[in-house]
């Protein structure tokens, strides 16, 4: 019964999407208002069907209806309620159903919020989104059917979700964030397709597109960060990023998404880079599909892989179809997007943006090549190889350092082909800040070249970011205007937001550089009463106990922490043993301070009551997360309409500023 209801909703979604897509394209080609209305209705039907299907699945999960195969696969009577709710996305079929729900949300949001001033593109946009929706509902209805009835006999209890996913609440929010990022990239993609089909790309396209791109990029940022945090809090190896293939897969669209956001700025200011922005958006979308494929096909060895399933070839087919459509569409229509003439120099704001795009795209290709090279090696040489952390660090660190440098240099430079002397002076002014950064690093005992370089670049970037970010306030003060400094900043919240994001990036960069260089660790076998020492800390093992919980057994060690003769509290690293898994899963215990983290992992508990304890002291880890939070806040600021937009939103407003032929700071 439940199975049939769920399958019914999926079928409804499939029908709405596969009719809506061609319908929308026809409506778009004929510029039919009635056609657009119907396309919007079908889009809303699709969204409702997806919501219905997910609702049915949640109902089945919560009522432990093991006649539904997905529930029999991930459900368990002993699993706590909140974990049962999250188990919707804990396994392959459910995660694709959840994917459909998010796509539905985005489609309905596009259908509702894009009504005004975007009719030119909307039919095409919705048609493309529904096309993607048709593929996903097809997947759910065929090879990844979570609603398939369980073959009899129906079990009375299930195994419960993967223990790793049960171990921490972050698992509840990390995947949805990532999906919101991945799926959200479909909207700018659909808008780019619409722009190509229309053959025009004006301000009415660019503004909303940037916003629709900003939202998923921000979700992706948060999702990647939460993944790192989860890995740090749960996996117990003391790190947050392992360059695992699936981590890389989420990183790829993030890189090109950010590149597209930056090239969009140039397009907005100078009317150039139109075709390039569209290409970047399309690459970003293809990379999200590639990432999903890598996660779900099992072709790469990864901690995140779902089990091997027939879904892989189908997904690869979809990826090939999308890639072919993108390449053909681009080659047919790209010449319709004509950039304005402009004068560009290397040492100018535009030049910095070009280099920024160059570095982001190079970084993306580097990570892509490293990620799929093991498959190449195996196919051609018949040998399994690994491309891992040392390689990626070696390759990516210089590129990231370059980006950090550009983040300081770019905003300091004036737009356009202005006087080179002016540009030189703009670059000399922040140099003392770079010196301060370098001196601070030396003072704290840094001697390794990468850290010193990053510190100097960070000082430079920080000065420029603050200088540029606060420029409206200074301008206001000079003019003795009536509004306060905050109001002055909020005249152009997107500008402020951009510099807030940059601030977050600098914080995260520095924190990553320092934390990965100055990590120290110690490991020992301790009997009760014995002490392990590390970096000024004394950790005394008091004893271990076995805690019984309904769905797991936990060995919990009590470790008293003190430094400088003062007690710093008690930490409880533990090892969880799930009934259906032999290898225990550790839960580290972390003491976080502004300066560093003390990270304790329980390696093992032996019969005689002694434990293996590993302690890691890592500086500045907390600032990685703080930096990302600053980035997300900055992005939120960017989404607030600017004063100009607020005026434009008012009735009978004049269209927005056309790209100005000669630049000049804002």
């Amino acid at each position: 019964m439940t199975s049939a209801l769920g399958q019914g909703f999926v079928l409804l979604g499939l029908i709405a999407a596969s009719f809506g897509a061609p319908f929308g394209y026809i409506a778009g080609a004929r510029r039919s208002a009635a056609g657009l209305r119907w396309t919007r209705r079908l889009a809303l039907v699709f969204a409702a069907a997806m919501a219905g299907a997910c609702g049915v699945m949640w109902y089945a999960l919560l009522s432990h209806d093991f006649s539904v195969s997905y529930v029999a696969q991930v459900g368990s009577l002993a699993t706590p309620l909140h974990i049962t709710i999250f188990s919707l996305w804990s396994s392959l079929e459910g995660s694709i159903l959840f994917w459909g729900l998010i796509l539905g949300l985005y489609i309905s949001a596009a259908a509702i919020f894009q009504r005004r001033g975007h009719d030119d593109y909307l039919a095409y946009t919705l048609a493309t989104l529904l096309g993607i929706g048709a593929f996903f509902t097809f997947l759910i209805a065929s090879v990844a059917d979570p609603f398939a009835p369980t073959p009899p006999p129906v079990p009375v209890d299930g195994p419960g979700p993967n223990p790793l996913l049960q171990n921490h609440l972050l698992m509840a929010i990390h995947p949805p964030m990532l999906y919101l990022g991945y799926v959200g990239m479909s909207v700018p993609f659909a808008m780019a397709v619409a722009a190509l089909l229309r053959g025009q790309l004006g301000a009415t396209w660019l503004r909303p597109m940037r916003r629709w791109l900003l939202v998923p990029t921000s979700f992706l940022t948060a999702g990647i960060m939460l993944g790192g945090w989860w890995s740090y809090e749960v996996l117990g190896w003391g790190g947050y990023w392992a360059w695992d293939p699936v981590e890389n897969a989420s990183f790829l669209p993030w890189l090109t998404g950010i590149a597209a956001l930056h090239s969009g700025v140039v397009q907005q200011r100078r009317g150039t880079l139109k075709a390039w922005t569209v290409i970047l958006i399309m690459i970003t979308f293809l990379l999200t599909i590639l990432g999903t494929f890598l996660t779900r096909s099992g072709v790469v060895n990864s901690v995140h892989s779902f089990t091997q399933s027939p879904i892989g070839p189908v997904f690869l087919g979809f990826l090939a179809l999308c890639a072919a459509a993108v390449v053909v569409l681009l080659s047919l229509r790209i010449d319709t997007l004509v950039s304005e003439p402009s004068n560009e120099r290397l040492i100018s704001r535009e030049g910095a943006f070009l280099l920024n795009n160059l570095l982001f795209v190079s970084l993306m290709f580097t990570v892509l090549v490293g990620t799929i090279y093991p498959i190449v090696a195996e196919s051609l040489r018949g040998v399994k190889v690994s491309v891992g952390e040392p390689y990626f660090n070696r390759m990516a660190v210089p590129l990231f350092a370059g980006l950090l440098l550009l983040m300081g240099v770019g905003p300091a430079l004036p737009w356009g082909g202005s006087d080179p002397k002016l540009a030189r002076r703009a670059l000399l002014r922040p140099l003392p800040a770079a010196g301060v950064g370098l001196a601070l690093a030396l003072l704290f005992g840094a001697r390794s070249a990468p850290v010193l370089i990053v510190s100097a670049f960070a000082g430079f970037a920080l000065w420029v970011t603050a200088d540029q970010g606060l420029r409206p306030v200074r301008a206001r003060r000079r003019r003795e205007g009536g509004k306060g400094p905050l109001a002055a900043l909020l005249v152009a919240p997107d500008r402020l937001g951009a510099y807030v994001v940059h601030l977050g990036v600098v914080v995260t960069f520095v924190a990553i550089a320092v934390s990965s260089t100055f990590q120290r660790e110690a490991e020992a076998t301790l009997r009760a009463g014995e002490t392990l020492r590390l970096g000024g800390y004394e950790m005394t093992f008091r004893g271990a106990e076995l805690v019984q919980e309904p769905h797991l057994e936990r060995h919990q060690a009590e470790v008293e922490v003190s430094s400088n003769g003062r007690s710093r509290g008690v930490l409880y690293p533990s090892l969880n043993i799930y009934p259906n898994q032999r290898e225990p899963i550790g839960t580290p215990a972390v003491r976080t301070t502004a300066g560093h983290d003390l990270y304790l992992t329980l390696m093992n508990v032996s019969g005689d009551g002694s434990i293996g304890l590993r302690a890691i002291r890592t500086p500045l880890v907390a600032w990685i997360w703080i930096g990302v939070v600053i980035m997300v806040v900055g992005t939120a600021l960017c989404l607030i309409p600017t004063a100009a937009e607020r005026r434009a939103a008012a009735p009978d407003a004049v269209p927005e500023l056309a790209p100005s032929p000669a630049g000049g700071g804002r």
């Binding site: 117990g236 190896w237 003391g238 392992a242 360059w243 695992d244 293939p245 150039t272 060895n301 990864s302 901690v303 003439p341 402009s342 004068n343 560009e344 120099r345 290397l346 030049g351 070009l354 280099l355 160059l358 795209v361 190079s362 290709f365 580097t366 090549v369 490293g370 090279y373 190449v376 090696a377 051609l380 040489r381 040998v383 399994k384 190889v385 690994s386 491309v387 891992g388 952390e389 040392p390 390689y391 390759m395 590129l399 082909g417 076998t525 076995l546 060995h555 090892l575 043993i577 032999r582 225990p584 550790g586 390696m603 093992n604 508990v605 032996s606 019969g607 002694s610 293996g612 590993r614």
Partner: protein, 187 residues
């Protein structure tokens, strides 16, 4: 030689008879207290037992290390070796028991004078190229080593070409604009 074609059948029958075995074994392992086992502490081997690494590796080509120098050498080697049991983690990062054993092995080899290169080669000979987190720069692997530089280079050339064209284009556009203004003011 004895013919043994009936083995699969016999084995299958035995397998059927042994089906209750897993449950029995599981029950045992739960009775036996905490089944979280402790690997032997680093460096404690009974003399004369185990593997003689020297026979596999040849003579040590470096100086025996100890103390902090040894710690540093161990973590350098460990960071480059992939933990065979886990995914994408090095044996330096992984807490898996086999990773701990491999760290201990690296430590004992380095302590007896084997060089970093010898130790890495030892692991590579045993587990295959798969355990090297950084592929060796030879043969097909050169793709991975040259690609990033090649991409930056090609991209850089494209950017340079664009800047040159734009400079010219900008000047032409400006000239055309001035000409137009001149014509309009003339009439």
């Amino acid at each position: 030689m004895r013919r043994a074609t009936d083995i699969p059948a016999a084995a299958f029958l035995l397998f059927l008879a042994a089906l209750p075995l897993p449950t029995a074994a599981r029950a045992q392992s739960q009775d036996a207290g905490p089944d979280v086992d402790l690997p032997a502490a680093e460096g404690e081997y009974r003399p004369g037992l185990g593997v003689e690494a020297s026979r596999e590796l040849g003579d040590p080509q470096g100086e025996p290390l100890s103390g902090e120098e040894l710690d540093r050498a161990v973590s350098l080697v460990a960071a480059d070796i992939r933990c065979p049991k886990c995914q994408a983690l090095s044996i330096a990062d992984s807490g898996a028991s086999s990773a701990q054993a491999m760290r201990a092995e690296a430590r004992s080899l380095l302590a007896s004078g084997y060089t970093r290169d010898q130790v890495v080669r030892y692991f590579e000979q045993r587990y295959g190229e798969f355990v090297l987190l950084e592929p060796r720069a030879r043969g097909l692997n050169l793709i991975v080593w040259t690609a990033p530089a090649a991409i930056v280079l090609v991209g850089g050339l494209l950017v340079a070409r664009r800047l040159r064209q734009r400079r010219r284009g900008g000047e032409e556009a400006l000239a055309a604009y001035l000409e137009q203004v001149e014509q309009e003011t003339a009439t």
